[in-house]
């Protein structure tokens, strides 16, 4: 027997010998998940996995509108500072105990005290005003409160009161991953997988599934989230049937999979977008808005997106911070977006008194898109006579360095889809870049001071214009990442949500 | 005269085209006879012996002549092929007792291995003990379990001889077997070889650079210079009256503590390397009796009455009248 035939038959026999269970969903993740304590961290992967275990009082429906979920409804006082929420009856935690108002109060208190997103709510107090009734008091009206309550990323998921109060500001450890979701925690094996198993006593909402809201149903016995950092490997793994679902497939691979019958392509419904922050605290860009506009004018986002993403279906050079169709979408200020005009930029730079001082652009290699975009920008800026030096570091170092104002002038990052502009990082004064001009503060006050949607929309449009005027950050463009799934996998959604969820999914 | 067990004639060994290391060497060895092959380093004596054993290193080969063991031509046969063809009764002892035994195998294993190859009838352990007794190693049973590094040089050389005897050799080739040993030990090993030669009636080709050893051990002597034999003869007449100037020169070089002359006789210059040998007599450049004829053409062999052969145009005549 020839060598090839031996190898071939061994491999074939081996393949036959390993049926992959139809009861397990194998999800190839881009990396190892950090802590799944959703309240504390904003890591995407933690939300993707955690949302199957932990649930929020509200949940977005298919049209991105918050709907009651663990709650059944609420009443709001006239001054918009007091909110009374009634809870759904019969919800049980994975440890068998019933969810009560105390659990909700403890969870919300922890979230608002320690959670990075929770602080933005401005919760003054939460009280159990009945076995299934919670009353929240806000320090100021917050128009975004319900969205914030529904947003699973760094959001107010409900833990048992003991767990929430015992953990305080620390991350909850895996043995205390107790939630109300359709799946409960199984085990974490580092570098191998995180496993969730079906929660048989799940209290399903008695309504059809609608986006994230409605009746969630666990059709798989287990969910396994398997870290597969190499994108090629994630893709070939799905093609070979090793995984049912793989997230974050590189844009450049789109051409290979879009017509491949062995995979289904799930383009993201929620674009992420690249951001290049400018340093408002120190350095040559500190308050030189003119120079910043010169930089903006030299950038051609089409090129950057083409290089970093590749497939035209997967990106859109759009200056608006929210995608078209979203309530927050507007075009204010976006004329200045992606001009790619080297001459204009050069003129602006001269006008701004730019003397050729090197501008340090901090970028990490861990995200290929950041690096690709930075490379293109560097080249475009050089064409406009603006001297940019790339400082290439790994992501961990970048996170450290960007906290030190003297170490950088610009840095590359990206931003995920969010339900409300208040969650934009650039809106946070303490986020590296430290944009806190008076104009910003004035507009921000207008924006958060009311829950009237129209007023808030208008204020947001002004903020967006201000961003294009003071350029604290440059938006690169919308990137529609795509995931792939095995052909047999059916999901209740077409476009992949920001945090793909698998209740109601089967294969 | 008995028939020779080993007969080498016109042996030529080459390391390449026009690069002869051994140039037409001929000699016979009779059973029970020790032939001393003597010469300085690089004269080709070791290559002659390796050619006879079929152990020439790669790149060096026999390019002419014949080697016959009991009348069978064994030229170009490696030892194991000789065993297969039933003409393997020839063995060799090498110069370096320190490196010639496999360091990771016990003495007994190494001897038994040789026994198994040659002597299927014998019980290897018994035969191994017998062989050790033959080479007079005391406490044979214990020594069989020893590793080579646990033995002294003299003992190792005895083990080497025991291994050689395993094939009940008709001819034993000993290539400078005592050069690495101290004189007192050398004497013992030489005595052993003499005794075994006599008792087993083997022919021995004893290779050495030491004229003293040859004089005391060999029955006949062959003197080699620059790849060829210059003189052969029985040991007594040869030492009494060497005929070739080189042989005579060598003898004169030996320091004689009993002589009063503070100076030693010398042979000027040094031996040519194989690739430097020119036409004519290779010793001509160093010879005190050289004449034009020596630098041209082949040199004839001449014999005297006692059968002493010399390859010289002007052999030394005996002082005694002919």
């Amino acid at each position: 027997m020839t060598f090839e035939r031996v190898i071939g038959s061994v491999a074939f026999a081996a393949l036959l010998a390993s049926p992959i269970s139809a009861q397990t969903l194998r999800y190839a993740t881009v990396s190892e998940p950090p802590s799944l304590d959703i309240q504390m961290g904003t890591a995407t992967l933690a939300s993707t996995i955690g949302q199957h275990m932990f649930e929020t009082l509200y949940a977005f429906d298919a049209s991105a509108k918050p709907q009651p979920f663990l709650a059944t409804g609420e009443t709001i006082s006239d001054d918009e500072k007091t909110i009374t929420i009634t809870l759904r009856d019969g919800v049980t935690f994975h440890d068998g105990s019933a969810m009560s108002a105390e659990d909700v109060v403890a969870s919300l208190e922890r979230w608002s005290e320690f959670g990075s997103r929770g602080k933005l709510l401005g919760l003054e107090s939460a009280e159990a005003t009945g076995p299934l009734e919670v009353t929240l008091t806000l320090s100021a009206p917050n128009g975004a409160w319900k969205s914030m309550m529904a947003y699973p990323n760094g959001g107010p998921v409900i833990y048992p009161a003991e767990v929430a109060s015992a953990a305080g500001g620390d991350a909850i450890s895996p043995e205390n991953y107790i939630g109300t979701g359709p799946y409960k925690f199984g085990e974490i094996r580092p570098n191998r997988y995180v496993e969730l198993v079906r929660f048989d006593d799940y209290a399903k909402v008695d309504a059809p599934l609608d986006g994230e809201s409605g009746g969630r149903e666990a059709l798989f016995e287990k969910l396994q989230f398997i870290p597969v950092p190499d994108v090629g490997t994630r893709m070939s793994g799905v093609q070979a049937g090793d995984y049912d679902y793989a997230e974050y497939i590189s844009g450049d691979l789109y051409g290979l999979v879009k017509d491949d019958p062995s995979v289904q392509v799930k383009i993201s419904a929620a674009p992420i977008f690249g951001l290049m922050f400018m340093n408002s605290e120190a350095g040559p860009l500190k308050d030189n808005y003119a120079l910043r506009r010169a930089i903006l004018a030299s950038l051609n986002m089409e090129q950057a997106l083409q290089v970093s993403v590749g497939e035209p279906e997967l990106f859109k050079a759009d200056g608006a911070f929210f995608p078209e169709g979203n309530v927050w979408y507007n075009e204010a200020g976006t004329d200045a977006y992606s001009e790619g005009d080297a001459d204009k930029a050069r003129a602006l730079a001269t006008e701004a008194g730019y003397d050729g001082t090197p501008i340090k652009l901090l970028v990490s290699t861990n995200y290929k898109e950041h690096f690709d975009q930075a490379t293109v920008f560097t080249r475009q800026l050089a064409d406009a006579g603006i001297n940019v030096q790339m400082v290439v570091v790994d992501w961990a170092t970048l996170l450290t360095l960007r906290g030190q104002p003297t170490e950088w002038d610009m840095f590359m990052t990206h931003h995920g889809a969010i339900p409300d502009p208040v969650l934009l990082t650039v809106m946070n004064d303490s986020y590296p870049g430290w944009w806190k001009s008076d104009e910003k503060h004035a507009l921000a006050e207008k924006f958060t001071g009311t829950s009237d949607l129209e007023t808030r929309e208008a204020a947001w449009a002004d903020i967006q214009s201000l961003i294009y005027e003071q350029v604290p950050v440059v938006k690169v463009g919308n990137v529609y990442s795509f995931d792939i799934a095995s052909p047999g996998l059916t999901t209740p959604w077409d476009g992949a949500p920001a945090f793909p969820h698998f209740w109601g999914a089967s294969k | 005269m008995t028939a020779p067990v080993l007969s080498v004639s016109d042996l030529v060994v080459s390391a390449g085209p026009k690069f002869d290391i051994v140039r037409g060497v001929s000699f016979d060895i009779a059973p029970g006879e020790i032939l001393g092959l003597v010469g300085e380093s690089g004269c080709g004596k070791s290559m002659t012996s390796l050619a006879a054993m079929g152990l020439l290193p790669s790149g060096i080969r026999v390019s002419g002549g014949s080697i016959q063991l009991n009348g069978t031509d064994i030229i170009r046969l490696a030892p194991h092929q000789r065993v297969q063809r039933g003409c393997g009764r020839m063995a060799m002892v090498f110069q370096e007792p320190m490196t010639s035994l496999n360091p990771v195998l016990r003495i007994g294993e190494q001897i038994q291995e040789a026994v198994r190859v040659h002597d299927r009838a014998a019980s290897p352990p018994a035969r191994a003990r017998e062989l050790l007794d033959m080479v007079r190693i005391p406490d044979a049973t214990h020594q069989l379990r020893a590793y080579p590094h646990e033995l002294s040089g003299g003992m190792r050389q005895r083990v080497m001889i025991a291994i050689a005897l395993a094939c009940r050799p008709a001819v034993l080739i000993a290539d400078e077997p005592t050069t690495a040993l101290d004189v007192t030990v050398q004497r013992q090993v030489l005595g052993l070889i003499r005794e075994l030669c006599d008792s087993l009636d083997m022919g021995v080709l004893f290779i050495t650079h030491d004229l003293g050893v040859v004089a005391q051990l060999a029955d006949r002597v062959a003197v080699m210079y620059a790849g060829g034999l210059v003189e052969t003869g029985d040991v007594v007449p040869l030492f009494a009256a060497p005929r070739h100037p080189y042989t005579a020169g060598l003898m004169a070089c030996l320091p004689d503590p009993n002589s009063d002359d503070p100076m030693l006789a010398t042979i000027p210059g040094s031996a040519p390397r194989p690739n430097e040998i020119k036409q004519g007599c290779p010793f001509a450049p160093r010879c005190s009796r050289v004449d034009d004829i020596c630098r041209r053409g082949a040199v004839p062999i001449t014999f005297n009455d006692s059968g002493q052969a010399a390859r010289c145009h002007f052999p030394l005549t005996c002082e005694a009248p002919e």
Binding site: I20, P34, P227, V228, S236 | F94, S100, H149
Partner: protein, 315 residues
């Protein structure tokens, strides 16, 4: 023998202590802060400070080292900052993959490198030797990840004979058939090392073949095959065995890359990931364990060498 083991073990422990100081010192020189990485984008300085205190990163370095070393002696390598599980568990989780990978790789190395090296040596100078030696040198000149990528391209993506990546435990579904996941990675990993062993085997075979005692063996009239197996190979393997410690170190290094390419849940990838995540305790623990293992393997290699070679006295 016993004294020798004691002495060598003592030396190994000294090395280990020195190495542990190096490991500890190095890692604390690394810029970048695990706390930031852990807490993510929106961390506040208070959170950072709190976490740092909790991890003991505020203590003086010497104290931190002593605590760490003391705990390590008791088998406690600390908590992974990232996974929030004991480091020992993180290592144990990667151990299965890495051990199986190393074992399979060694099988290729020994099964391919030594016989082929022997073949090349006994055919020294012939075309087969020149071909094999050339091939060996070529393999030794190829980056493992490059081989890995092309193996994936050809045998996984192209022919589909083997899975491209990952490795489910053999204790999970699929059982031993899961070993097929390791075939390509182990081949990629074995290639350069097998090439080195091949060259080493060939070279030491040729060296030994020049030894006087091999000539003695031939003079005995032993068949060439027996001369090779009994006299040459056995002595030549001594040199090869002593190279296994070195091979092991090379394996670990290259496993780091190989496990990354093939997305294997092994210790090597854990290290790389942990370096990127600044997960100090995991880096420290893994490297300490690797160094320990290296020292133990070297000790075993030395001991077996000494047992195979009677010339060396065990004292």
């Amino acid at each position: 023998m016993f004294r020798y083991v004691i002495r060598r073990t003592g030396a190994a422990i000294l090395t280990l202590v020195a190495a542990s100081i190096v490991i500890f010192g190095f890692i604390h020189m690394i810029p970048g802060d695990p706390v930031y990485v852990m807490l993510g984008d929106g961390a506040t300085p208070e959170q950072v400070a709190a976490l740092r205190t909790r991890l003991g990163l505020d203590e003086p370095l010497v104290l931190q080292y002593l605590i760490w070393a003391g705990n390590a002696l008791q088998g406690d390598l600390g908590q992974s900052v990232f996974f929030e599980t004991p480091v020992t568990q993180v290592i144990a989780d990667g151990a299965e993959t890495s051990i199986l990978l190393a074992t399979m790789t060694m099988v290729w190395i020994v099964g391919f490198g030594i016989p082929v090296g022997v073949l090349a040596a006994i055919r020294q100078g012939r075309w087969i030797d020149q071909g094999l030696s050339g091939l060996a040198m070529l393999l030794a000149s190829v980056p493992t990840f490059w081989v890995g990528l092309y193996l994936i391209l050809i045998f996984a993506a192209g022919l589909g004979w083997f899975p491209s990546s990952g490795f489910p435990s053999i204790f999970d579904e699929g059982g031993l058939s899961n070993l097929r996941y390791l075939i390509l990675p182990s081949i990629a990993l074995a290639a350069p090392n097998a090439a080195l062993i091949l060259r080493l085997t060939r070279a030491s075979m040729l060296d030994v073949a020049r030894e006087d005692y091999v000539r003695t063996a031939r003079a005995k009239g032993i068949k060439p095959y027996r001369v090779v197996t009994r006299h040459i190979l056995r002595n030549a393997l001594l040199a090869v065995v002593s190279a296994f410690g070195f091979t092991f170190a090379a394996l670990i290094s290259e496993a780091v890359v190989t496990e990354t390419v093939f997305a294997l849940p092994g210790v090597g990838r854990t290290v790389v990931q942990s370096i990127l995540r600044r997960d100090y305790p995991v880096i420290q623990g893994v490297i300490l364990v690797i160094v320990c293992l290296y020292l133990v393997i070297n000790l075993l290699v030395d001991l077996s060498y000494r047992m195979l070679d009677p010339r060396v006295e065990l004292e």
